[in-house]
Symmetry: C2
């Protein structure tokens, strides 16, 4: 059950009061982070992009309820002040504190709430399950479940917590991830491992098409378990990030199903990623999967418009259930293998596979050796209701 | 009321029987066309890309009910056969006949239906309103209204008809446009004028994010009114294409509102177009507009993730009603001007402007002199219902 608090040297706590939450995570070590590519960037992101160049952190403070975006110079000062407040709690200097925010856009921070919450919880920083749970719940906004993941290796552990839900509003829809390891890794190696790990996980989750204003992923290495093999660490980090990303996709707003789209046979990994993202972003694919319809036409037409060169008449499209336990090929090399006229049994079998909570789509574009996987969720009336009728 | 049949030398007819429709449009002249950029391309598109290089047409045959996509070699032969059938009706050779199809994907054409319908209507080719109406209705699929436009100039006319609806399934969702002029224009000049006209019209309509497998726009110049000024012609052609494109956006599946997004102040027209398309594609923007919520945060966050460099703190975002009769500035240069705390009156006024059938969004990204406009529609529960629950 323990995740980040299974990593040596990590102490957490948190509080959630109405829409305002605060988490403190104390962990001293080398550190790296990646941030949103949105042009509209939150104040804490602006601050952290600069401060993380040093590659060290003693802890992180995260608030929910206010994203501190579109708040100008005052927003930057407020983010700095949050670092000062947490530095006092961690017994360090503000330049060694990470800060992240999630919540509504365009409102100034209420620092008195942050100060008050911090003063009340700072004595609770603990290395146990309950502490970790508090931190996870403190940063939730539209999330319906807390999210965490762990990869245990012989001589080190990587674990993380995150918040974010599959199809979400920018004003509440940030993906924040905090990953920890007790392996000893240089800041440069942390950054080197984090970039591909994030590209293959959080960047492959479709959150309304793209990055929010506050998205960030921090990784801190406490080093308490000593040196480890770099490749083994990088693989464990990617595993944790992918697990967190899938949990975000599964927790989509109004979602009834998690969708996994794997594209194989591409000329480059980037090509495969572009096709996978295009398919999983398509409202027609999302609604077809909601309707449990093995609509190969929508799948291949979405792949076809991704801007990647391949021959649709050479492609293969399949549908599977969770873990690819069963698979039905819908179309292969220009031949349709599941339709209501010629292949009604295959169509019925494919429909049945789509009845569960996870639907897996495989598309082999048959022009190379690279692959990529994207995760998302279906599009339901509930999503429209959440984002249209009850918008604030 | 007359549109394409107000152009000298254009004769039309059509028939719609259940889901199968056929239109014939006879018009002898120079011709040009642009086609879908999807990798999955319909057989008639493959054929026409090659044949249109000659730059002449004597007429066009269009069927609805079957898109002739994913049909391999037989599909190409069927498209060729359609040209032969129409050539006999037009009294010309098959190489001077344009062909287009719309309907379901992955089914072979029923040529006997085409032959039968053609033989019954070919005697009805006429230069009048009723004939034009028949042609328009013959090519409709999910369209709820027929679509046509006209631009009259002193010494020539440009007019067109089209089918397509704003958020539509690739298997029924093609945009087909047939535009005519009685000006005398070389095939090269037709092509030169058509490319920017299509880029600023049909390519700025968001049809689930991108081009379908059958999309095409043909233009034919009968030349019966003699030579005209090229620039005057190009402007008239663009006007007709934009009018048709807006009608497609307004006829979106399940749509309750048409949305126009104009981006100004960009470094290039392409930059402006990318930002406008990104905003109008955003499910969060679509649902906010459905909910009549002047959500500047969603608008500016969508613009911010378009991949175009600009400073969100210098941008201005406004909401208007149809024709920009009234406007409310939501945010200007980092300052929020419509919210429920500080500016509730402006917020209420903006909300009111969004009550109509057309919502106009202006975003000035304040870094250059170029602009672009995109059209789309809101995202409603009805859309999910059409594409999810009743998918075929």
């Amino acid at each position: 059950m323990k995740n980040i608090c299974a990593v040596e040297g990590v102490y957490a706590t948190g509080i959630k009061e109405g829409k305002y939450g605060l988490a403190l995570i104390k962990a001293k070590g080398t550190a790296a982070a990646v941030f949103t590519k949105n042009r509209l960037v939150a104040a804490p992101v602006i601050l952290m992009k600069e401060r993380m160049e040093k590659g060290v952190l003693d802890g992180i403070i995260v608030n929910s309820g206010n994203a501190n975006v579109y708040t100008g110079e005052q927003g930057i000062n407020d983010a700095k002040r949050m670092c000062e407040i947490a530095a006092e709690a961690f017994g360090t200097t503000p330049d060694k504190v990470g800060v992240a925010s999630t919540g509504v856009i365009g409102r100034f921070m209420k620092l008195d709430i942050i100060e008050d919450q911090c003063s009340r919880i700072k004595g609770d920083l603990k290395h146990d399950d309950a502490a970790e749970e508090k931190a996870m719940r403190a940063i939730m906004t539209t999330d319906t479940v807390p999210k965490s993941a762990i990869a245990r290796r012989k001589n080190f552990t990587v674990a993380g917590i995150c918040k974010g839900s599959g199809m979400i509003a920018p004003n509440m829809g940030t993906m924040l991830s905090f990953v920890y390891t007790d392996a000893e890794i240089s800041a440069a190696d942390l950054k080197r491992a984090l970039i591909p790990a994030v590209n293959r996980s959080f960047n492959m989750v479709v959150v309304d098409g793209d990055t929010s204003t506050n998205d960030c992923c921090f990784v801190t290495a406490t080093g308490l378990k000593g040196k480890c093999d770099y490749d083994e660490f990088a693989a464990a980090l990617e595993e944790v990030c992918i697990s967190l990303a899938k949990q975000i996709a599964a927790d989509g707003e109004g979602a009834s199903k998690m969708i996994e789209v794997r594209v194989t046979g591409a000329k480059t990994e980037e090509d495969a990623a572009v096709v996978a993202r295009t398919v999983i972003e398509s409202p027609l694919v999302k609604t077809a999967i909601y309707g449990e319809d093995p609509n190969w036409g929508r799948l291949i037409a979405a792949a076809g418009r991704a801007g990647v060169e391949f021959d649709p008449d050479a492609a293969t499209v399949s549908i599977s259930n969770e873990g690819r336990a069963d698979t039905v090929v819908l179309a292969r090399k220009g031949e349709i293998l599941a339709d209501d006229v010629m292949h009604p049994d295959a169509l019925a079998a494919a429909k049945k596979l789509m009845g569960g909570k996870v639907v897996v789509v495989d598309i082999d574009i048959a022009c190379g050796a690279f692959e990529a996987t994207a995760w998302g969720c279906d599009l339901t009336e509930k999503y429209v209701e959440i984002n249209g009728k009850y918008t604030t």
